[in-house]
Symmetry: C2
């Protein structure tokens, strides 16, 4: 990254950048973590708008060739995890199988977390917390040895980083379960390769081996999802699907390309919960086991 | 609650109501929980729109004079809890002090949860997860024996119900820490007395003894929060504050009324994170201990 000194504006840029470096230094010395919002509030006069401090934070992380997490400026925690996994966080040993019908909120302070052991055979990343809760209630990891993870929507930095560590250290296959719509497929792509905006972070965050288990467009016919729980695509969905089809990572995956083209030709989408139209247990007792045992993913 | 049979529309109403009763019966028999969205998807033809199934679910709960949770139709989990507390959830005993820098996501299946013990002296309900994470990192319950809880915004049903059980069974004082703005104060009011829409649930959900610890408008001067991190109120904030001032539960509390009037006269608001302008530890090391020891709440 280069910074130019051509104008007064660039002087301001540098001042903000240096201030963020100071803050990062303070956070690291004190071994505490704070959010972007906190950083903005340390010097409102200088940063003026949170956009500016956010930008400087990203610049600092890029300059240092590290992740934002390593600067101790962390995002809002939002993900949670449960299943066949034991971790150590400072002096606590946490058994993620023994949290009742709750789960462990993924701490954004990943630098202090150690993955101890797991006898899981796969990791399932779920778009929606409500769907994860169904699997939680069924104690799914007892029937199928797995680790379950959700970030409620697009994976945030802490969740993606935690997932990457899990797949890497445990060497486990990893699948996503998302809505059958372009946004669901986009969520999968963010786990797969990172977001465009934070492309410099991708090496630290992406899980290139993650597979899209479902819900695929072709699943809707295969599992006889009734027409009245399929939803028509709106203009935005159509545009998003077309945009996805232009991406290299989709073009490289013929099956994925086919599925998106099928969605586009039928102009339909569906939520994971559409399986409730079959029965309340269809997702856990039929769909997931069949998909996993037949290897029917993308 | 009465249902009238005056028109074809009311026949549809009753059919939907009976269908929901059937579903509740199934959920209770199978001892599983599902969300409103799942219920809608069981019969899209009949319900047409999720608004209709949601309405029927509320009607069923009212008819049975119980909470929606007791019907096993639960909301999306969103809250989390940590601190000096041990609970039993089915066969798991969960120690909420030993979750590293993570926390326990509050399960919406509260019927199966037992509160075992706690040596906390108070409960602190926090508006924002990012702020709770600060207290989590400081292991705040070690310094001040407490239970921390957040729902990230307005308390959802599971969180409010869990809080009510905690305060009732442990007989502990309970405080909220919210933004110094009308929305923050509204969040406090929802814990205090429930939301208007779900007024029938209030007896099961409200915590009438909860106190507003802060951030109060008067705290801004008292703790010398710099002017540049105070934000101007917009039209919506002003309307919301005026609406709050009309509420009986505010009129009954002179100190609260005064604080809202002060906010209205100054037309300013501030976020909890504004304390970062003082120092990164000001909230945990100065503000909270002072407020709690001097009993400076509303």
């Amino acid at each position: 990254m280069k910074k130019q000194f051509h104008s007064l504006r660039s002087v301001e840029d540098i001042t903000q950048l240096v201030r963020v470096l100071e803050i990062v230094h303070e956070l690291l010395l004190k071994n505490i973590h704070r959010t972007k919002r906190d950083v903005f509030y340390t010097d409102v006069k200088l940063f003026k708008d949170q956009k500016n401090s956010d930008k400087s934070i990203e610049d600092v992380a890029t300059m240092l060739y590290t992740t934002r997490n390593a600067t101790h400026i962390v995002a809002n925690p939002r993900g949670s995890c449960v299943g066949r996994l034991r971790i150590r966080d400072q002096n606590d040993i946490i058994d993620l199988e023994s949290l009742g019908s709750g789960s462990w909120t993924i701490s954004p302070y990943l630098d202090q977390i150690e993955i101890i052991e797991s006898d899981a055979e796969f990791i399932l990343v779920i778009e929606k917390h409500a769907v994860m809760q169904q699997l939680l209630e069924a104690r799914y990891w007892r029937r199928y040895p797995c680790i379950l993870l959700t970030a409620q929507g697009v994976g945030n930095v802490a969740t993606r980083m935690f997932l990457k560590r899990l797949t890497k250290e445990l060497n486990l296959p990893c699948f996503t379960l998302v809505d059958s719509d372009p946004y669901g497929h986009y969520i999968h792509s963010v786990y797969l390769r990172g977001s465009k905006r934070l492309s410099y972070e991708s090496p630290f965050l992406a899980t290139p081996d993650i597979r899209l288990l479902g819900v695929l467009t072709r699943d809707l016919d295969l599992y006889k999802i009734p027409d009245n729980v399929r939803l028509p695509m709106n203009k935005r969905d159509i545009k998003r699907t077309k945009d996805l089809l232009k991406e290299d990572f989709v073009k490289k995956n013929k099956k994925w390309e086919e599925d998106l083209k099928l969605a586009l030709s039928k102009k339909i989408k569906a939520e994971i919960q559409a399986f409730s139209s079959k029965s309340f247990e269809f997702l856990t007792d039929n769909y997931l086991p069949e998909k996993l045992t037949t290897g029917d993913w993308i």
